[in-house]
Amino acid sequence: MSAPVGRVELRSRRLATVVVGVAAIVAATGLAVVASRSNDVIPGAAFLAFLAVIVLLPFAVGVLAPWIPDRWLRWLNAAILVEYAALLVLLVVGAALGWLPGGEVPWFFTTPAVPAAAAMLAWGRRAAWGTVAASVVAVVCSRVLAEHDPVRLAAHDTLSFVAAALLVLLFDALLVAARRLDEATALAVAAAGQEAAGEARAQAAEQFAALTHDELLATLLAAREDRPDLRRAVAQRARRSRRLLRELHDEESAGPVALPELLVALRAEAAAAVPTAAVDIEGSRRALDAAPELPAEAAAAILGAATQALANATRHAGAERISVVVAPLPDGVRIAVRDDGRGFDPAAVPPGRMGIATSILARVRAVAGGGAEIVSAPGEGTRVSIEWRRDGAGGPVTTPVPAAPGPSRPTGVFAADSPAIRRFLRIGIVVLLAAFAALAALAGLRTDLPIVHAAAWLGIAAGFAAIGWSTLARPSQLRGLVVLLIATGVAALSWIPIERDPATWGDAWYIPAMTPMLAGLAARGRSGVAALAGGLVAAVVAGGGIVHQNDTIDLVAAAVRLCGGLSVGLLLIGGTVWIRRRTVVAQALQVEQARAASARAAGRRELRERSAGVEALIGRTLDRLAGDEPLSDADRAECAALEGRLRDQYRAGRLAGEPLVAAAMRARRRGVDVVLLDDPDRVLAADEVEAARRWIAARLDAVDEGVFTGRILPSVYAALASAVTEDEAAQLDPGARVG
């Protein structure tokens, strides 16, 4: 058997196993109805006993399927197939030995849908088609050996094979789609994790840069001054900086976040995403303070979603105006991000695009009390509402949430509308219609009114055509209605009194032959119309029987087959669609969880590393500043040097490397005001950067006072770098040797 299965595939396999159980019951019922009329085939009691035995196992397995693990599902399906084969052998051997009445084809053996479906679940596609093929060969051979009238039984056998093939096809589609979804989820989870880790690292770096900028530089700059009157303030700031560094270092506990804090963070995010986005508050400052605190998780989700909405507005929507409005609520908060960009149709998000759906909707909805909504239309801008409420009653209050534009929106069982699938289906339909044509011809030859069978065939062909197979999209209501009318019309043909000789239900072949047509309609997303049509056909057939008072058992058997087959199809189709819908949500959640976990870990690591680095660099100096002792000249020079060192992290770019870092520290301690600049547009090779650093360092070592500016020059200059004091400028030419 094969590799471990994913969540969706397991769920699909369980559904399929349930369907096998139902199919067994349906097949047995159909056979019992036929047998109850033709006692001559196999004596009633033995036949029914066999049927019961054969139905029992699939039924029991089907009932238990939702709780059975994958390995056991496979073994139990294998057992169903083996049981089927064993009973068959028993029947044949028993007949040969005279224990059982012989000379007949065991009837259940002519309906291979159940064993073929079980084979599919146990061993896969090949085993399933092998079972169908084996049963075709075996049934045909045994019919010939038993000297049956092939014409008489052709309808029954053909329709049985068609039913088996249909079931195998549907199972195949279900399992392939399930496997693809699982693979896509795994990929999406991995990608989201990586992406989130990258984002989180960048965010942590920014957060850390903000801390450096806000706290450390200001403290060091003030400490650099020879100002005893500022000593206490400096000590206070140094202690605060020390504490912040330590908090970042072992940042673990994320406490609840007050709304004003969230607002500050939101403004920072908005400024980072779009410097011009205005963040406004709807309501009073008091309402802002009175709003409840948000759990850290909710705050992070809301912030993340709002940031994503802003990014979408700038990156994709081409918006001119973007506004963010924060509305404090008595029991939560609502944030609306609006833009006047090009907008989009939320229902038409291409399959597989996770962007807005996952990042905004799922992220917020994954949090207790969170709700999100996206309202947009092409050319009309986009409005994203994000909401959180303390009592956990999620969902926006403004308007009902539209269906989330998931990664894929299948309307039927088909996961994709590919030319290959369409071609395969069209060929299948042609083969099917050819088989039905043969049935119609056989039946037509034996009646006084062959036109009835010709009309039935034409009706079925027209029904397939009415569904339309140029795309696999959901057919229109009108097409569904046409198919329904055609089905009813074909069923009404059974009212026409025709001579049957001998009367077999093969004469009503067209009733069960409508199963694939109606199943096709259901598979394309019109299950309701298909079910209604099935019911109408049954009613019309039954009505005909009552009106004509004739021997209607053939027709009833035919209608039972149609309804049974159709119910199995509908169950499978409905289940497939349901699983897929649930999967879209589950997948989004899974991706979101991966994202959150990965982001937390990466962000924390980044902060820890950075704070550890800065702590190693300035920890001792901060301790010195935090104390009460007066600062010496050397202390002040050290503060100036460290301030420059930290500042170089912003603007020195590639110059922030040895030996220049050490040279700059020395020069700043000497009292030189060192400025290092790197322009991002200049592309340099590693050895050129290295040369520039060494060259600038050498020049810097010769300076004793004043301002020194070292710079990697923009690309408009021929020279690589410059080293300039206020009176003297030198340039490093490309290719120059640096000693």
Binding site: A210, D214, L230, A271, T276, R321, D679, V707, T725
Partner: protein, 211 residues
């Protein structure tokens, strides 16, 4: 006496600077605010020393615009951020851009000069302008570009004048014209979002980054 106010949300910076301003002849320190909004509600000033990057999320250009409309001149203080914010402020009519990490005497000299209405030319300002792709198409003379480039290298006014064999006052004239041209650069046409997007294209992000 020129009245000088400081807008900076680092209380230490304001403390250190405020005392020095108060002690300076010809300057009156009228107070310190954490946001531009607070400033506009306090005593009037002739010159506002404004931190380029305030933590309240407000934008340099908007801040400068509000202060200019209030009637004061603006001198920008930076902690060495990227040129994007400096350009933003420069387009909104500031007298100059001064680095916080410069020696405090120099900062004070700059404030005093700004209080007299003189433009303050620093490498920070020159670098930010020089690296602006839009400036390449601006109607500047070769000489003006040369002046800007020399300042951007880090030279002082005296050295620039000496290198070009002109007087310092000629250099100042060039600077005035560069400022005027820059302030007019595509101003009415571009939207703020556009400007931001162009910043991204230039590889300049509004937040400090390491590489």
């Amino acid at each position: 006496m020129a009245r000088v106010a400081v807008v900076d949300d680092h209380e230490l910076v304001a403390l250190a600077l405020g005392d020095r301003i108060a002690a300076h002849d010809g300057l009156e320190f009228v107070g310190h605010s954490e946001t531009v909004g607070d400033l506009l509600r306090s005593r009037p000033a002739d010159l506002v020393v404004l931190d380029l990057n305030l933590r309240d999320g407000s934008q340099p250009r908007e801040n400068v615009g509000r202060i200019r409309a209030w009637g004061a001149q603006v001198l920008i203080l930076t902690s060495g951020e990227n040129p994007y914010l400096t350009r933003e402020a420069s387009r909104a009519d500031v007298l100059g851009v001064v680095r916080k990490s410069a020696p405090s005497d120099r900062i004070l000299d700059a404030i005093a000069a700004a209080a007299r209405g003189e433009p303050i030319v620093t490498p920070e300002w020159a670098v930010a302008l020089e690296s602006d792709p839009e400036l390449r198409a601006a109607p500047l003379t070769d000489r003006e570009r040369e002046v800007l480039a020399l300042y951007a290298l880090g030279l002082g006014a005296k050295a620039v004048a000496a290198r070009l064999y002109v007087s310092e006052s000629t250099v100042v004239d060039h600077i005035r014209r560069i400022r005027a041209v820059y302030a007019q650069l595509r101003r009415p046409a571009n939207t703020k979002v556009e400007l931001y997007q162009r910043g991204l294209e230039d590889g300049i992000l509004p937040f400090p980054s390491e590489s």
